[in-house]
Symmetry: C2
Subunit: 461 residues, 2 copies
């Protein structure tokens, strides 16, 4: 599941660049970590990713080298919470294999030990064979208000594993501290949102408890237009509330692995390694007399922090967040203000990743835009044209193969070329080194949607 | 006096871009405000500015439209505190007019009312006619530790003005709070660093108490090499310590104007207008639950502040400061770290101002640099060449007249030109609108000192 939009870790995450795409811990992004974890028990061709139109390309870009199958990236047409998304992917899998067993996982959670996870997953698969809807309960280590809880019932007997599992009495959304403390005393678990079941078992549950959802995903293959229409009108509902809470075959499996949602800057601060002043600093930050802070500068910009206590300071190309840890959840109001004032910072980064590399907007003004474009070795942008803008390219580094109205040009370092309005053009890096160019765009209209693609090696036309 | 280097208001000020060049209050920079204030009692041709090699060009750029005379901008060869600087300018003035009376003022202090200042200055000139060294004492309104103090002696009689002036017992450098409180009780003043005297009176004092300084500035006209040699070996000393403290003809004039040194972010915060939460915010900042903060974003980057109390947050193109108000003076250590780690941020801004306009470095990499260059209407860069870099120009906005190896090219919007290594070239804006271009530099060596100037309308060759 990779369909969320990123707001809570703004400015690193953006509406169009959600949390799973970020490297928050270690040198891999959360979705890369999740994909690698799952690939240890599930063959690559059987890993499906459900996301939305906006994130699909970025996700494929991050996972292609890890072996993700492009066709297995499913785009949900509207965000309707987890039940419709899970129903859709389950339908797709069930059509291929009526006996399939499924593990459902979020793509943006942090799990410390893959080994522990896999062990638990194997146990869950065994339990699921008894037609149980298995959910992983995390044993809480503090009364968090950021997580949902699972209140358990008595132990379930007659199971195929020796490990204890329990019936579920209730799913509780983010409680207050007192309620959380009480729940923990009662042996409740954090709801990890990780599930294991047979495709048939969960589809049966959806058919009974969410018949509209079932009806919708049944039309996916036969009648795509009808599917879109029905999906659009579905109510948003989670699989927990929509199916599990009503089913009598739910089993909660107490999980022993170290799990974190990383739902806020505060949560991220908690899990990152700290220095002797309890600070988390990156190499672009300079600090004096700071404690309990998370401070991140960027390659292009230094952050100097003096006399701070308990603050989050995160710098990005076009936005800086300075927040007290206990106030960082108030970010939503600020994002709303940006939306209302036609800022762009809530929505996306100035740097955008593409299957061929990435670009950064360096400068924008009336009728012009300046981009730095980086093309990876062996990669190629689509053969394209623009109706409203001319472009001018200068090579900074590497060699560019340029096709312009059918002619081929090979440009070296410091050479340049003009791309007139309407011209069919294509930029390619046939070398083994990075290609970097400056693109200056001129025209009345300079948005990304002014593009006609004639040929695209990544299937985007 | 405009020879300081800016560290205390970093990152707005830089070593090569000191405080007097900043617009901290209102729409004029501090040196512009100072120049305009002085021009109300001193004719333009008699206003002299002493600064250093690094700031001279920026100062002229800011003052030329206000009527500053280029030849009156004197460059001190080394920073040796105020005594040698004042001695040098006084020598220059004295040679022209042996009867000159001089008002000495810092260029980076804030004075609210020009009217009040001028009234006091006129009084001071009268007193100075009696061969007094007049210094302005500011009546303290709190026991500041950031200012120097003047401990007064008894009232001076036999003066030409009816206003009371006092003898000076002692100049005290920044005291601690207790000492400051005691000084205020004793009727001490803040030392404003504003002086009025006859050229001859102060030169006589320098001759007696700082004979080395006197000897040095005497060589300025006759023997420039000797002057440089002597100046280099001078001790750094202030005019207060070097002359005034030892003279018996010093008079302190209690000044009634509102004066501020703005020696720290905290001091700037105090004098700026605040909103109902006691915050000073600019239009590029979004805040929630903040109080007593100064928060400045930039046009290109938004600052979001959540739950902050008493903080200074100042963003610039290449550096962000986040400091508690009571720790903002610790900035010096951080600047030292930048120096040691070969950062550039302590030294200068990515945007540099020139007599013809300004440029901003947008991107730098191995063997390339990308600049945006803005040329003001009617302005012209020097006819120049570079030994180690080629340049490529694309016009973003406006029209460019380009001279390249003797040929003239007129480039419009989106047109471009190559400037090979060694070519004589010149960029000019002969229109009434701004000219904006992108310059891509390529070469092994891309520093600003790779320039041969053949012809420069601002006399820089």
């Amino acid at each position: 599941m990779a369909g969320g939009s990123g707001t809570r870790l703004w400015p690193l995450s953006r509406e169009l660049y959600p949390k799973q795409l970020l490297k928050l811990i270690g040198d891999k992004t959360l979705i890369q970590q999740t994909f690698l974890r799952l690939s240890k028990i599930i063959s690559l061709k059987n890993i499906y990713i459900i996301t939305n139109e906006n994130s699909a390309e970025n996700i494929y870009f991050q996972l292609k080298d890890l072996g993700a199958i492009k066709e297995n990236i499913i785009k949900e047409p509207f965000q309707k919470n987890t039940a419709p998304a899970i129903a859709l992917v389950t339908e797709i899998i069930f059509r291929k294999d009526g006996k399939a067993e499924i593990l459902v996982s979020s793509s943006d959670h942090f799990i410390k030990s893959d080994l522990e996870f896999i062990k638990m997953a194997k146990t869950a698969f065994k339990i699921a064979e008894g037609d149980f809807l298995v959910t992983f309960g995390i044993i809480p280590n503090y009364p968090s208000q950021e997580y949902g809880y699972i209140k358990r019932k008595s132990k379930i007997k007659n199971q195929k594993s020796k490990i204890n599992v329990y019936g579920v009495e209730k799913f509780i959304e983010k409680p207050d501290v007192k309620q959380a403390e009480k729940l923990i005393k009662q042996g409740a678990y954090w709801n990890s949102g990780i599930f294991v079941w047979r495709a048939k078992t969960i589809l049966d549950g959806i058919k009974i408890f969410l018949p509209e959802v079932y009806k919708t995903v049944e039309t996916y293959f036969q009648n795509p237009n009808e599917f879109l229409k029905l999906f659009r009108s579905l109510e948003s509902i989670s699989i927990d509330k929509g199916v599990l809470e009503k089913s009598d075959n739910v089993a909660v499996l107490p999980a022993k692995f170290d799990w974190q949602d990383i739902g806020s800057w505060k949560a991220l601060y908690e899990i990152l390694p700290k220095d002797s002043n309890q600070n988390v600093l990156n190499e672009h930050a300079i600090s004096e007399d700071c404690s309990n802070c998370l401070i991140q500068g960027t390659k292009k910009r230094i952050v100097v922090a003096l006399g701070l206590e308990g603050l989050i300071v995160v710098d990005t190309e076009d936005a800086v967040l300075v927040a007290h840890k206990n106030h960082s959840h108030k970010i939503k109001n600020s994002l709303e203000k940006m939306r209302q004032n036609n800022f762009n910072q809530h929505l996306q980064h100035p740097t955008a990743y593409r299957p061929w590399g990435y670009y950064t907007v360096l400068e924008e003004g009336e009728n012009f835009k300046v981009k730095k474009i980086v093309v990876e070795p062996g990669q190629k942008l689509s053969l394209q044209s623009h109706k409203k803008r001319a472009e001018h390219w200068i090579v900074l580094k590497g060699n560019a193969k340029v096709e312009l109205n059918g002619k081929i040009f090979n440009l070296k370092h410091h050479q340049s070329i003009d791309i007139p309005i309407g011209a069919e053009h294509c930029l390619e890096n046939i070398t083994r080194k990075l290609l970097e160019i400056i693109e200056v765009q001129s025209g009345d209209y300079l948005k990304e949607d002014d593009i006609v693609r004639f040929n695209d090696k990544y299937g985007r036309n």
